[in-house]
Every structure is written in structure tokens, then in C-alpha cells.
């Protein structure tokens, strides 16, 4: 009997420790760091929770190759980084779409235009002959300072040519400087829009040049980013644009967590009321399920979305299902007059197939959501899958372990197992 109590207490201790780890993480010296759900580097909140923007682009060609799409992704990455959004994520969606998620930005229109620009930079003469393209630019940078003889400061973009580019530039400026007034200029064109048209007075033998225009600081940064990242292999069209403010996300998160907590408590009370001592055991297993889910969310850095939270909460309700199946079975066996020990064994054995079969169908649906779904649906599929698998494990193994210790402690009054009066119901 005392061994059972020790085992029972040990399991409770393990669950308490796991709950603590789930909340606060685990740090062992400097080498091992495991974040908890309360740590900032733990759970990654989706855009619908912390606010931000989603932009989806579609390639305007039939059947782009995977290599082309990879090029697009890496170029978008460079652009995002140099525009000041290193925390943005890029994911491929289907064969010709790219999904960009930028946290904490709720005004995506301007970024969207610039991000999706083809970035075809050309220097052309008055007849439209191309002198230099973006390929002959080594680097580009946004700068601020005086740009004209009057000394007025403005935002501009400085370019540095490759050797070949400098050569061409030198030749062209020499030729254009000799042209009559009205023809002696170079147009700097970005994606068919002329940004500036500087006059050329003399031949320029320099590897650098600047582009001026009515730039804001942001516009200059974006332009430099686009020139630097190079030219996209095809046009991108923006097909989806979503933004959520941080305040809405915060409310959504808070209300969902409160809903989850109340639902959790209600389910625990319900189990206690219907199954008494067995219900208590199921509640302990449920705590373990919640702790394990928390640990998994934090360590795997799962992107938690609003439907994702709904998935976890829904799984709390489903989690006790396995226990309900098993407990009902145990009650039946008890009513047949079996001893508690035999009834618990038989209940688990007989209910096991039903539990596994019924959970696998939910797993099938969750895997399909995770595999084929996009955006928030994927988030829901992930947490649903985690929820179903973990709850099945905790409901089968942990409950069984605890119930056995309970029997070991000689708890044999049938009232504790949810049967009203032993004599009346045993036929």
C-alpha cells in the first residue's frame, strides 16, 4: 500500500515539475536552455495574435521552376532584411505563390508595392537605348546628405558600378555630353518608371554615381534594397493583403485564454462529478496533457494562431474522451460483479481499440489540414494533431498508472468509481 502511495505521489510530482517547465522553461547551466510558454523566445505568436501583415504574391508566369521560386524567395528575403523587417517570414504556397508575414506592421500597402517590384533598373539615353542595367551595379545604399551645389540635404541612393559597368558608363557619358541641349541626359528607370533624369555635362570616369529624386527616407531605403537584391525572374502580383492591429490580436489572445481556462475547469468539474475518484485521476492526466502541450509549443517554436488556440482548447474537451470510454467500460465491468482490479484491467483492455480507432480518424483530418492547408488553417491542424496525440498518450498510460496505484491503496468502495450504491447496481 505504501509503495502505491509513493508511486502515486511521484507521478503527481513529475506532473507538477513538467507544468513548471512548461510555464517557465528549463535552464541547466549555460549549455542547455529550454524556453517555457511565458518566455519571450518560447511560443511564437501568429500575426492574428500579435498584429502584423500578410502579403501573398503570385508569379505571373505559367509553371515557374522551383529554382526560380527559390530565387524569388531569397530576393524577397534580402529586400525584407534591408527594409528593416528581418523577423518577417517567407513561405512558398502552392506552386506559384509566396506568402510573406511581417509582424508588428499594420500598414502594408507601401511595403507591398516595393517588395513585389520587379526591380529592373536601367540607365537609358534619350532614344531609349539601354546603357547599364542593375546587373552592372555592385552595391547600392540609401544615404542622406547634401546633393546639389546649394548644399541642400536630401535622401538619395548611391550606386557603385562593376568594372564593366564603369567602363560602359564612362563611354556613354562621353557620348551624351556631346549631344545638344535637351538630349544630353540619362534617364534612370526602375520598372518602367523614370526616377530621375540627370543632365550629363562631361564624361564621367567614376565607378560610383548617385540617384536623386523626391525620396523619403523609406523610399530611398526600399529603392536601394531592390537594386541590391537584383531583378526578379518574373513579375509578381499581389493577390492577398491582410493586416491585423496589435490591439485586436491582444484582445483575441486574452479572451481565448480565459475561455480555455474556464472550459478546462468545467471539464475537470464534470469529470469529477460523474466519475468521482476516476474523474480525479483523469483530471490529473488532463493537467499533464496541458503541460506537455505547452512544452511542445515552446520547444518546437510552433507558430501559434488564433484557430491554433481554439484547436488546443477543443482538444481539452476531446482529451477526456479516451478516459470517458475507458471509465464507462470499467463501470460496466464493475456492475457485472468483477473486483475493482479485474474491472480496471478489463476496462482498459476492452476500451483500447475504440480509443485508438476513434482518435486515428481525427489524426487523419488533422494531418490533412497541416499538410494541405495554408495560413491559419495550418496552425489549427498543427495544434489539433499535437492535442489528439498527447491526450491519447496521457489518457491511456498515465490514467492507467494512477488508477493502479489507487487500487494498491485499497480504494475499493464502488462509490469512488462512479457507481451509486454497490449492492443495487450489481446484478
Amino acid at each position: 500500500m505504501s509503495r502505491s502511495i509513493i508511486k502515486f505521489a511521484a507521478m503527481i510530482l513529475v506532473i507538477a515539475l513538467l507544468s513548471f517547465v512548461a510555464l517557465y522553461g528549463l535552464d541547466l547551466s549555460d549549455k542547455f536552455h529550454m524556453p517555457g510558454i511565458l518566455d519571450p523566445d518560447g511560443v511564437i505568436q501568429g500575426l492574428d495574435l500579435k498584429g502584423g501583415s500578410v502579403i501573398v504574391y503570385e508569379a505571373q508566369v505559367e509553371n515557374p521552376t522551383e529554382e526560380q521560386m527559390n530565387t524569388v524567395s531569397s530576393m524577397l528575403r534580402t529586400r525584407l532584411d534591408s527594409m528593416g523587417y528581418p523577423e518577417a517570414t517567407i513561405t512558398k504556397q502552392g506552386e506559384k505563390k509566396v506568402r510573406i508575414e511581417i509582424p508588428s506592421m499594420s500598414n502594408p500597402e507601401m511595403a507591398a508595392d516595393s517588395l513585389g517590384a520587379t526591380a529592373q533598373l536601367q540607365f537609358v539615353d534619350y532614344e531609349g537605348n539601354v546603357i547599364i542595367t542593375g546587373n552592372e551595379v555592385k552595391t547600392a545604399a540609401a544615404e542622406y546628405g547634401p546633393t546639389d551645389s546649394m548644399g541642400a540635404s536630401s535622401h538619395y541612393v548611391s550606386l557603385e558600378f562593376t568594372d564593366e559597368g564603369a567602363q560602359k558608363f564612362s563611354e556613354a557619358t562621353g557620348r551624351i555630353a556631346g549631344l545638344p541641349q535637351g538630349q544630353n541626359f540619362i534617364a534612370i528607370v526602375m520598372d518602367d518608371t523614370a526616377i530621375s533624369m540627370p543632365m550629363v555635362q562631361t564624361q564621367i570616369n567614376d565607378t560610383a554615381c548617385i540617384i536623386t529624386g523626391d525620396f523619403t527616407s523609406e523610399a530611398a531605403t526600399n529603392l536601394a534594397a531592390n537594386i541590391k537584391s537584383g531583378q526578379l525572374p518574373f513579375t509578381l502580383e499581389q493577390v492577398e493583403l491582410r493586416s491585423v492591429s496589435a490591439t485586436l490580436g491582444e484582445t483575441a489572445l486574452k479572451t481565448s485564454l480565459i475561455a480555455g481556462l474556464i472550459g478546462f475547469i468545467l471539464v475537470m468539474l464534470f469529470m469529477l462529478l460523474i466519475y468521482r475518484l476516476m474523474g480525479l485521476v483523469a483530471d490529473i492526466a488532463l493537467l499533464l496533457y496541458v503541460a506537455l502541450t505547452g512544452i511542445l509549443l515552446a520547444t518546437l517554436h510552433i507558430n501559434l494562431t488564433l484557430p491554433g488556440i481554439a484547436g488546443i482548447i477543443l482538444a481539452i474537451g476531446m482529451a477526456v474522451d479516451a478516459n470517458v470510454v475507458i471509465f464507462e467500460r470499467i463501470k460496466e465491468e464493475l456492475k457485472l460483479g468483477k473486483t475493482v482490479r479485474a474491472a480496471v484491467d478489463a476496462g482498459f483492455n476492452r476500451a483500447l481499440t475504440a480509443v485508438i480507432d476513434s482518435n486515428i480518424t481525427t489524426i487523419i483530418a488533422a494531418v490533412i489540414l497541416l499538410w494541405l492547408g495554408t495560413g491559419t488553417i495550418k496552425g489549427f491542424g498543427t495544434t489539433l494533431l499535437i492535442g489528439v496525440v498527447l491526450s491519447m498518450i496521457s489518457a491511456i498510460f498515465v490514467t492507467k498508472f494512477l488508477l493502479k496505484q489507487m487500487i494498491g491503496m485499497n480504494v475499493k468502495n464502488l462509490w469512488f468509481y462512479g457507481i451509486k450504491k454497490a449492492k443495487e447496481e450489481v446484478k
Binding site: 492591429s245 479572451t255 477543443l314 477526456v320 474522451d321 488553417i377
Partner: protein, 299 residues
């Protein structure tokens, strides 16, 4: 003890009629597709001062030159949705139109109500919506096929077919209710339907599991009796599980923000119709099929 197989005429006729009504509505009325599917613009405003839905609708209609798709208010927030101009051809033109109109609407509302803040904004191209709809259909079909294969493998083909029939009943009723009540459906509806596909079958499987067990032991009973016993033996379990799941998802519906309510509602409906079909439909159809097969053998 419930006599389910004995009263199968009533228990099967009611859902049959409801399914037919749902199908008729789905064919002739269809869905009220949200901007997620139809493409368009959805924007949420937080308005500090007092406002009425009618006034906001009128302001938006004045800007658009036509009525918006929908205007829904909850608390100090109002969600405005509108589609594209049908004359526009390319996605780029449509997107420009939507963003331009959005700016005008924000301005008009600001003039009328003072401090108006945009808290959420979705611009979706029509092609995205079409892709989403076909993607959803494929996900559902794939789920059903896999579930059918699994049940056939674990139980038998008859059980698999009956389980899928019950699923069809659950999903058709769920979609039918949304069609008849003209509730708009968005991307999360797909996730909800797939959850119902995977979850509402749980009860059916637990019943089939019991039937599988009882068939082994009972030799002299008819299949109708076996089915009836099995449904009754698992009745408490079916109800209790439904209650615990409803407790949690119900709280999400009661407490949640607008978008999560729209997600919780179809799951709640799906769980309810799923519980009905598991208890009152699955066993009866299964036993009818098996008993008629026995009769056919005897003749």
C-alpha cells in the same frame, strides 16, 4: 433502454428530410461566400463614438455607389466587407480599386465619427478565393477516402460505408444550415468542416467497436438487436464526450472575438448533428444492411 433500431423509421426519416432540404438549399441558394472566397475587401474599424450599423452601411454605400457585401457591428467594432467592381479585369486593377475605396471609406467614416481606427484589413483577389474553395474540396474528399480506407481495414467495408454516410449527413446538414440561414462562410469554415469530419466520426467508431465485440459473443441475436444493444451500452459515453467537448468549444464561442466565434459555431453544430447521426443513424443503417444480406442468403 432506447429502442433505436425498432423506431428506425422515425429516427431515419427526420435526418433524411433535413438532408434533402439542405441539398436543395445548397443547389438553389448556395453559400453566402465571404471575401475569403469571393475576393474583395474586409476591414475592421474601431469607432470610439456612438454609431449604428445602418449609418455605417449608408456611409459606405455612398462611397462605393452600391451596397457593401456586409456590415457587422459588435461592441465598438464594425466589420465592413465589399466586393470588387465587376468591370475590372486584372487582379492588379481590382486590388487598386479596393485600396482606393478603402481610403475613401476611412476618410468618410472619420469625418462622420471623429476618431476611427482601422484594426484589421484583408484584401483578397478573386483567384485566391477560387483556389481556396477547390483546395477545401480536395482536402475534404481526401479525408473521407482515407477515413473510409481506415475503417474498412479496421472493421469492414459495410461499417466504412455507413460511417461515411453519417459523415455526409453531418457535413451536409452543417452546410445546409449555413446556406438556409445565409450565414457568410470564411476560410476558417473549411477548418471547422474538416474537424467535424475527423471528430464527429468518433462516436460512430466507438459504437462500431462495440458492435464488433458483441458480434463475436452473440450468435443467436439479429443484427438489429446487436446494434441496439451496442448503441445503448455506449450511450452514456457518447453523451458525456459530447458534453465535455461542447463545454470547451462553447466557452470559446461565448468568450471569443468575432473571428473565433465564426470558427467555433460550425464546430458546435457539427458535433451536435454528429452525435445524432452516431446514435440514431449509424447502428440502424448498419443492421438493416447486414440483416437484409442474411435474408438474401436464406432465400
Amino acid at each position: 433502454m432506447l429502442n433505436i433500431t425498432g423506431n428506425k423509421k422515425i429516427y431515419l426519416t427526420i435526418p433524411a428530410i433535413l438532408v434533402i432540404i439542405s441539398i436543395v438549399s445548397l443547389i438553389f441558394v448556395g453559400f453566402n461566400l465571404d471575401t475569403d472566397f469571393a475576393g474583395g475587401m474586409a476591414v475592421t474599424y474601431k469607432i470610439e463614438s456612438k454609431f449604428t450599423t445602418e449609418d455605417v452601411t449608408k456611409t459606405v454605400a455612398d462611397v462605393l455607389g452600391k451596397a457593401p457585401t456586409s456590415v457587422q457591428a459588435s461592441g465598438d467594432e464594425v466589420v465592413v466587407k465589399f466586393g470588387y467592381d465587376n468591370n475590372l479585369k486584372t487582379d492588379a486593377e481590382k486590388s487598386d480599386y479596393a485600396l482606393g475605396k478603402l481610403e475613401e471609406i476611412s476618410k468618410a467614416l472619420n469625418e462622420k465619427y471623429g476618431s476611427v481606427v482601422e484594426t484589421n484589413k484583408d484584401v483578397i483577389s478573386p483567384s485566391t478565393g477560387k483556389e481556396l474553395a477547390s483546395n477545401a474540396l480536395w482536402m475534404s474528399i481526401l479525408s473521407v477516402i482515407l477515413i473510409l480506407i481506415y475503417i474498412t481495414f479496421r472493421f469492414e467495408f459495410v461499417s466504412g460505408v455507413v460511417a461515411v454516410l453519417c459523415l455526409a449527413h453531418d457535413v451536409l446538414l452543417l452546410c445546409g444550415i449555413y446556406s438556409i440561414l445565409n450565414i457568410s462562410i470564411d476560410v476558417n469554415f473549411i477548418a471547422a468542416v474538416l474537424t467535424v469530419l475527423g471528430y464527429s466520426i468518433n462516436n460512430t467508431i466507438v459504437i462500431f467497436d462495440r458492435i464488433r465485440e458483441n458480434t463475436r459473443h452473440a450468435k443467436k441475436q439479429t443484427y438489429a438487436e446487436i446494434a441496439n444493444n451496442s448503441v445503448n451500452q455506449t450511450l452514456f459515453r457518447s453523451l458525456n464526450t459530447t458534453i465535455t467537448t461542447l463545454l470547451t468549444i462553447g466557452m470559446v464561442y461565448i468568450m471569443g472575438v468575432t473571428s473565433i466565434k465564426a470558427f467555433a459555431m460550425p464546430i458546435i453544430i457539427g458535433i451536435l448533428v454528429g452525435t445524432y447521426s452516431s446514435i440514431f443513424v449509424a447502428g440502424s443503417i448498419w443492421s438493416m444492411w447486414r440483416d437484409s444480406a442474411v435474408k438474401a442468403k436464406k432465400n
